[in-house]
Each structure stands twice: as C-alpha cells, then as structure tokens.
Symmetry: C2
Subunit: 506 residues, 2 copies
C-alpha cells in the first residue's frame, strides 16, 4: 500500500493534463497523427464513436423536418468575399487550391500546373456556397422554410492543433435553414441549440451550459451565436456546439430573395448550426481517468467485451462455446436505438488484454472461465468503477439486467461530471478574488486554476478583451438561465445587470 498506485496512462491527469490527453488518445486507439500537418487519422475505435454520434444526431435533426444534402467541397474565392465579416474571419486559415494538374518540372519532379483563373478555397464552412443554392431554390414564401443539413469534412488551417479539439481538417455537420419570418428563424436557432444540449447531456453524459456568445465571440457574419459550453476536468471550458441566427446578412450576400404572401419581395432569414468531431475530445476530457477513456454507453464504440479465460487446453472448447453463446444472446438485445455490440477477445496475452479494454473505455468487461461456467455465472467489471472491482452474477441475471447496468453507468458519468462542474463553478464579485481564481493553485502546474466564474460583466468589449489578454479568460456565454440582478462589472466596476460565465477555454 506504500507504493504509488499504478495507472494505465502516464502521466496522470494531475501530473500533466495536456500530455495525459495525448496519451489517452494513443493508448485508446481512437486516433493517430498523420503525415499531413494538423490532420488526424480517425481509427476504427474512434470512428465507431463518431458513427454513433452521427446516427443519433441525424435522427434528432430529421424529426424536426431537416433533410440531408451535399454541397461542393470548393468555394470560389469571390463567394467567400460576399460577406465582409465572414471572409475576414476565415481568410487567415484556409487551404487554397490554385492548380488542377501536376506536371514534370525542370528537375524532373512534379510541380503544380494548370493554374485556375479563380482560386478555390476548401470549405471552412458552407454558408456562401449553400446560400448560392438557396438563392436558386427559393423564389416564393411557399418554398420556405428550407431545412438542410450536410455531414462533411471542413478545413481550417490552424497553426496550433490538438487531436479532435483543433485540427486542420475535421468532420462535422452543418445545418443551414432559410425562413420567411425572423421569428421562425430565431426559433430554429434555439431549437437546434436545445437539440445539441439534449444530445450532450443524454448521450455524451456531458452537462452543458446553454447561452449566448458575446459580440466578440460570435460566428463571423452572424447576428447572434448561441452555444453550449461544458467543463473539462482541467476546469477549462469546451464549446461543444453552436447555433447561429444569421439575420438577413447571408441572404443579402447570396441573394436569397422570395416573394411573400403579400407579393412583396423579401430577403430570407437564415440560420446555421454545427457540431464536430471536437465532441470526441469533450468525451475524453469529461469522463477519462488515469486508466484511459470511459465511453458513455449510449454512444460507446462497443458495449461489452467478453474475455474468455483459458488456462488449460482441455477447457478451450467449453469456454469458447459458452462465450459464443453468451455473445449471441447479448447481440439479440438492444440498448436505446441500437443493437448491443459485443467484442470477443480470445487473445492469449495475459493481463495486458484486460488493460487494453480498460484504456479503450468499453463500458463492460466480462470474464468467463471454467469456474464461471460451472456456476453458470459471469465475472463483470464496469469501466466507471475501479479496475479491480468485479462482481460475479449469473448469466441470466446479467442478460436481464444489462440495460439497467448500462443506464446506471450512463447516469453515473453524467452525475460525476455535473458534480465536478458544480464544485468548480463559483459566483465571484470581487476583482481580487477573480484574479486569484484564475491564478495557478500550484506554481508547478500553471494550468490548474479555479474553473468557471459567474461574475458580472458590463458588456463592454474593452473589459472583455483586457481580461482575455491578461488572464487568458473569456466570456464563454451569457447563460439563458442567468437572473437579472444589479451588480458591478468584475473588471471595471461599472453597473451590470447580469452574470456571465467566465472561463479559460479550449
């Protein structure tokens, strides 16, 4: 007991959180670095997670009348320039296609050839190219609303990248809608944010704060940006989804006009909204522990691994038969909208086998040995409990209780994360306390600070940008559930009428 406890991931979260994150990804087999600057390879274990996220969200979108479509990867430079704020926001980080051929150069190697008359930008987001389609699809109020989503890859040439959180290429969905009435567009903006929040909490087990972004943090070209913000285990915020009310800005830029019921010509009101593979980073940092990731059962790449234990050759047949039968029985069951996924790992590699699955975060590990078979039982370990905590239950009980066990893990993860966030969210009313809250608790771990501060802000850009510069702390959002109350700006002391959420952020 005097020895330090061995953990599967080194360093631990307490030792070096950013490095822990990279090691967890590596050891869990979620993703890999690639030879292309800032681009990741999503490995099968990580992509299965993304497939579950996609399928669930896609169903939620479709229930609200949204249909999927697909638009070009390339955006002509002149399109991007149509909305001034928008192009300003994306010009600094975009991949530009300038040639459409390769030719032998002077030194014999291939060089770009066939110069394009107009450069093409690899989409960083698709408002302008989709707006062009909308301008052709919409001519009457009868054509509205148009409710479109696309699942796609996008590219933003980030200078400092981190797997899942910030990569040059990432996968996402982007919803784009057009409406005849401002009110309807605003309601759609809110509806999609509510869907994101419900998905984050019910599926990712990640508590989120819903709110509105300050003007400085808005999507380039939007009138209003709504967001959900989650707290990671290093107490930093992760923006996990945004929904934008675009007013008539993009309708004017793209010429999305329609004839109203009153026979006047009007610009449409548009929205856009998106979540991305960044959510996977959020799952890792919300639930992971020093032994690796912990996957919420509802979106887990797989639910259960069966680990047959065969110490003597004579047992092989009976253990494998029992394992295969159990797998078959489990695969006939469903959890939520999805059949139970079962892995069988019969590799003879000793204790490393169990630890691999712990690091991969599979919700349930089930050991099956000759003694279990004799007792008609299984030896079950939950990923949300300590690795050594295992319990023997009869096979029938396990099958019957499976959904309850998975629900309990899902609930437990959410409650833990909520408890953590509550513990590190503080109402702060004095500037000194605020400064102290964002100073390192331990000089050796400069990254560990207080967490979320609920403090008054006067609404002034200047205060916001000074706080950002001095403390690397930003207004994450003006939460919807904030109460109107008299107060003083945490920075300048001027009157304020509501608290906002301050935090350091990814």
């Amino acid at each position: 007991m005097g020895n330090p406890i061995q953990t599967a991931i080194s360093p631990t979260r307490a030792e070096d959180y950013p490095e822990w994150y990279q090691q967890v990804i590596k050891e869990s087999d979620l993703a890999d670095k690639s030879p292309v600057r800032g681009c990741m390879v999503i490995k099968p274990w990580g992509y299965a997670l993304w497939e579950n996220i996609m399928r669930t969200l896609d169903g939620m979108f479709k229930q609200t009348g949204v249909k999927n479509a697909y638009f070009p990867l390339f955006i002509p430079l002149s399109f991007l320039e149509k909305e001034a704020m928008h192009v300003e926001g994306f010009a600094k980080e975009c991949a530009v296609v300038t040639h459409h051929r390769l030719e032998k150069g002077a030194d014999g190697g291939l060089v770009p050839a066939g110069k394009l008359t107009e450069p093409l930008v690899v989409r960083p987001t698709s408002e302008t190219i989709i707006g062009d389609s909308f301008s052709r699809w919409i001519s009457s109020y009868r054509d509205l609303p148009v409710l479109i989503n696309q699942w796609a890859n996008v590219v933003r040439w980030e200078m400092r990248t981190r797997t899942f959180l910030r990569t040059s290429e990432f996968l996402w969905q982007e919803g784009h809608t057009a409406h005849a009435e401002m009110k309807e567009a605003r309601e759609r903006t809110q509806l999609m944010l509510d869907i994101y929040a419900r998905f984050a909490e019910e599926y990712l087990a990640m508590p989120v704060i819903k709110g509105e972004k300050s003007a400085a943090e808005r999507f380039p070209g939007a009138v209003q940006t709504l967001c959900i913000e989650a707290m990671m285990q290093d107490r930093k915020a992760l923006q996990t989804g945004t929904s934008h009310f675009l007013g008539q800005n993009f309708a004017k830029a793209s010429g999305i006009r329609f004839q109203s019921a009153q026979e006047t010509e009007e610009y449409a009101w548009t929205t856009s909204w998106g979540v991305s593979t960044r959510m996977i980073g959020g799952v890792i940092m919300s639930h992971g522990d020093d032994d690796g990731i912990i996957l919420p059962p509802k979106i887990a790449s797989s639910h259960i691994v069966l680990l047959p234990i065969i110490r003597k050759d004579k047992d092989r047949q009976s253990v494998m038969d029992y394992t295969d039968n159990l797998a078959q029985a489990l695969r006939e069951k469903s959890y939520g909208d999805r059949k139970i996924d079962v892995e069988i790992d019969a590799r003879d590699i000793g204790g490393a086998r169990g630890w691999e699955w712990i690091k991969k975060g599979i919700p349930l590990r089930v050991e099956i040995g000759p003694r279990d078979i004799a007792n008609n039982s299984v030896f079950v370990a939950r990923r949300d409990k300590s690795p050594s905590e295992k319990s023997s239950i009869t096979k029938e009980q396990f099958i019957a209780q499976l959904n309850d066990i998975l629900d309990d893990i899902q609930k437990n993860l959410f409650e833990r994360a909520l408890e953590f966030r509550n513990k590190h969210t503080v109402q702060i009313d004095s500037k000194n306390e605020f400064l102290d809250f964002y100073s390192p608790e331990n000089p050796e771990k400069p990254e560990i600070h207080g967490g979320f501060a609920l403090s008054h802000w006067c609404g002034d850009d200047q205060c916001e940008s000074t706080i950002k510069e001095d403390l690397k702390v930003t207004v994450r959002c003006i939460p919807f559930d904030t109460k109107t109350e008299a107060g003083k700006c945490i920075w300048c002391g001027k009157p304020s009428h509501k608290r906002v959420v301050f935090a350091k952020a990814y």
Copy 2:
C-alpha cells in the same frame, strides 16, 4: 389517339438520350449544377438515395469484418509519387493546394498567401495516405489482416463532366485491406466484387457482368482490377464498381512490412475497392422512362406518397384524418431493413402534383378521396406501370400486401433491365458484323449502336487500342463466366481462347 403521347420528360430517350438524362435529373430533383466547375449539389431527394445505398453497403462490409475509419483529405505530393504508375494515372487531373491563407493583394482583392513548402493534392483516391498509416499499424503477422473502409469525398479534375457519372468531386467509399498471404488478398478482392454485384442486382435492380479488366483498363498501380459492368438503356456500359488486387506494389511504395510467423520480414499484400455516387447515374439510366426516374423500392428515397384529394372544403377534415391514419399504419411497417417511408403531399396544385411524384420515381402513389373513404379503399398507382394504370383496393389489403407489391416492383425492374441487356448482347465472330454492330443504326441518332458484343480478343494491347480509337469501343471486361474456346481475335484474326465483353462505355 392521333396525338403523340405526352411524356413528362422532354426530350424522350429516343429523341436525345444524353439530354433526356440531364432533364430527368433536373425534373426529379435529385441534383443540381453548382457554380464550381464540374462539382454537383446533391439535393435531398438524391442524397436520401445515397444514404440508403451507404447504409446497405456499410452493413454488408461490416458483416465481413471491415471497420470504418477516416484519413486526411490532403495527400503530400511526395506520397503520390511513391508509386510510379499510380501518380502517372492521377497527375493530370488533381486539385492542388499550394497556399494556406488569403491576403489583401495590390488591387485590394484577396490573393493566395502563405505558400506551402510541399503542395498538397486533394485525394483522388487514398492508397498512398492510407498505406502510410498501415505501415505504422502493421508490424507482425498478428496485426493482419487489416480491413478498413472510408466513406469520403474525392476529387478528380475531369475535363468533361456529367452529373453523377463523372464529376470533379464525388462521394464514394474506398476499402483498403492488407494481408499476410497473397491468396487471402486475392480472395478479399473477389469477395468485395461479389458484394458489389449482389448489391447492384438485389438493391439497385441492375444486372451486372462480373469480370476482370484488361491491363490497359486497370487501376493505376494495381496487379489486377475486377469490375462489374451494367448496360444502360442507350446500350452503353457503365462500370459500377471495381475491386483491385494491388499485389505488393503499394506495400513496397509505403513500406507496409511485417514479421511473419516464420520470423522473416515480408511485405503485405493489399487490396482496394470502391463504389461511388456514379451508381445513382446507373439507377437513372437502367430504369428511367420518358416520365422520369423509377426508383427501386429497396433503395428508394421514400416508398410511398399519399395524395389526399379534396375537392370540397367539407371533405378536408375527413380526408386528412384518413390520410394521416393510413400514413401512421404504413410507417409502422418495415420493408427489408428499413421502416416504410411515407410522404404526404396535400398541396392544392391540381394534376401537377401527381406528375411531380412520377418524375421523382417514387415506387407507389396512393390517392385518397371521399369516395375511397366511403369504400374504405385506396387508389394505388405503381411507378413501374403506365401513369394511368391505377387500381382500387381496400385499405387493409393495401397494408397487408405492401411488401409484396414493393417486391414485385423491385423484381419487375430487374427483369426488365435483364431482358434489355440480353436483347442487346450478341456473340459476334466476324469483323464486318462487329463494325456494323457499332455503327449508328440511324444516322440521325449517332449514339444508338448495337450494345454488348461477346467476341474473341487476342489479348494484345495494340488491337485493344485500335478498336478504342476507331470505334470508341473498349474491352469492358473478361467475364468470369466466359468459357475457354478456340476462336479468332475479332480485330486481327490471331488465335484467341476466350470471348470478352466489348462495348461503348461511360
């Protein structure tokens, strides 16, 4: 009766097949042109078709142990150059990213800036970038086989594009596998082709010929390319899927090495295989008629449209209630692995409404008026029959027989297409007959020729390329079911031991 029959699509197939194809796409709302050269916009009705294709194929792949993953969009130029044949095949038509930023230029407009040290090619296919990952993932025979698929967009800068058939950007899946043994890799190549063939015939209702490509038509860098070829209604061939045995070519190019069970170091044997949104073009041209597309029920964007007929306001409530109830009853049913999709079109636009759905190719149209309600019946029209052919059956019968009706449409489409192909596939043994077969039947319609010729070919590149130059006819494949028989090359007369499939092709 003296008047020509009005068709919904103008021109008809007989009048101008290529233009008919473009009009069908437009009128069916499957896709739209885009402002980006050669890139298409896939509209919701077309994308739903693609979603059904993806879901079905994805399930078939996974049943054989394949897992999905995701690799970077960009390929460093030096990677593409690793395999000499491969880069030769793709250098002439690739989008090249040379800059990662936009900056204000001398005239105030934005210009590309931040030149990359190495240009990046937007993937035309991913053998080289996936090979790089494989080289890191594989070190022992225990790591093999690796069975990976990715659903992705790819770009090939085509000079002459046609929606779905040949576009600069298209959507596809590309499978990539690595094996310890040549035999296993060859079996995988065949297995995936068999899956494509089964999918084409059972789901797309499109009969295909399975075979091997000639050396000239092989995938650049492959040892062997297997393919499925279908006949379109203009008697041209459409290659709808390919599966490549890559030997050790790409393993050597990317350094995919492993230690064998005998502790020797070996190169892996790899395969790749893909199908794309081109399949949608195949569906249009296999089944479409002069009234638009006809969607095979198993992959149709939607199965049924309900068309309430309300001539008097007093009937509105009862007709809509009956319609909604029927929709609900139908949506509880499944066809194949999928719930029945039901559209309700209650627009008051007269006869145009029915014709819109005919042009969109929905398998079943169901009219519901007050008289039908009085009789507890529905008025059903099948898209594979004449537009005027409608039959009244009781609601209960319709619900009970729905799957049989859909199966019958699916079967009917396949049989029609097979009959058409058989009719236009001819064994030809004389050069004159061959020349005649590929000459226009009618000088006013130069595109209509004989069809598929089953003729002997000596195997010589020279004959193959001369036939291609002179007649625009290519060896589509050496079919697997060809018998060994003595014969003479249709072109040069030299001895040949089997017949191949000749055709004009897309």
